[in-house]
Subunit: 222 residues, 2 copies
């Protein structure tokens, strides 16, 4: 019943404006696919979550793949932007903490985004897989920059080691997100603080004296 949206609605309009319905369906789809994954999530369930029936899904999005792809694009774009914004600043270990914090903040608003991008039940080929891989690669690439700069400190590491290190970093982020799902009461800031403490134990020297900035963060109380 808003004032200006009504003006654009033509004859034969019934129920909800198209844009609103679209958003509603996308929200429902993100919930369904985020919880059950692409393979086990069903379009009928998405429709039920949105309070409509299955043919409406196909009226609006044409296919299950297209529906998932729309959710995936939203989630992937948001995550990439969040991580990209965390790449600014000093290039020491504190960047890892900032990146993780940015991911947590983004996921706090939309908890299912991570699962949409890293859904393990996606088909092993096809456009859907390629789209997801594209976002994953983009996120990984940004992580790789930090890892490479970090590992450059030692001449013993081979190029392949840096690639492995990048994947280890991804595994760390992924595990942190998974742990968070089982402890939803934690805020994004608390999660970042926990990670910070663990890093501090792992490498106290690299952490305490990163160089010019005089300290990676002000949150440590020791």
């Amino acid at each position: 019943m808003s004032n200006h949206a009504k003006a654009t609605r033509g004859v034969g309009t019934k129920g909800m404006p198209r844009k609103d319905r679209e958003r509603l369906i996308l929200e429902a789809a993100a919930g369904e696919f985020g919880a059950k994954g692409y393979a086990r999530g069903s379009t009928a369930q998405v429709a039920a979550r949105a309070g409509i029936t299955k043919p409406m899904i196909y009226e609006y999005f044409g296919s299950k793949d297209s529906l998932y792809l729309t959710c995936l694009d939203q989630a992937g774009t948001r995550l990439v932007e969040a991580v990209a914004s965390a790449q600014r600043g000093p290039s020491d270990l504190s960047r890892a903490v900032r990146t993780l914090e940015a991911v947590f903040r983004a996921l706090a608003a939309r908890p299912h985004d991570w699962e949409l991008v890293y859904d393990g039940t996606l088909p092993a080929e096809g456009p859907l897989y390629e789209a997801a891989t594209g976002y994953r690669r983009e996120l990984n690439r940004m992580g790789a920059v930090g890892v490479a700069e970090f590992l450059r400190a030692s001449p013993a590491v081979e190029p392949l080691d840096a690639d492995l290190g990048t994947h280890l970093w991804y595994g760390t982020v992924s595990a942190a997100v998974a742990w968070w799902r089982h402890h939803p009461e934690q805020t994004a800031d608390e999660m970042a603080a926990r990670f910070e403490r663990i890093v501090a134990v792992l490498c106290p020297d690299l952490w305490a004296a990163p160089g010019t900035t005089g300290g990676p963060s002000g949150t440590r109380s020791t």
Copy 2:
């Protein structure tokens, strides 16, 4: 036509002895489920891999769940044994390297074992899920001991931090295994060496002077 196996075969035997066929099916099932996961793997495909047809699978194992469970038990037992054997020895960071090396050695013989235990397409409840969770918990528990001893060095870490640390460690192992799948030409020893180099860059002080043993391992050349 072998000499001793023939003696045990009774009347009505046709084709392959039961034990051999059983092993053949299990091998095929491990390949199918390891590659596609429980949900997407089909019993007909398992049968095709084993060179037989679907009803034989049910003759031998009764149900898809039972078949998967048999594979899972083999894989889980092997992995738990491998990790347990690596827990002996000094309790510093070198234990992490030893653990990872043990996992790699176990997986070198049977590459699909990891995916069977950590299959993301398993149902979210039921005996199959509980069995997989049991192995995961057992593996995690052993990892948690090492992580807890390690984090105990700092009084700032809270109990929940240790739990998070355990999951981060699991994420690291998981990522290393995933990376290995994309670089199959690497041997288990090479993988362990790569991980060792990365750890050395991350925490050189904890690594170089672990205390009484005079050094975590003899493989470092620096």
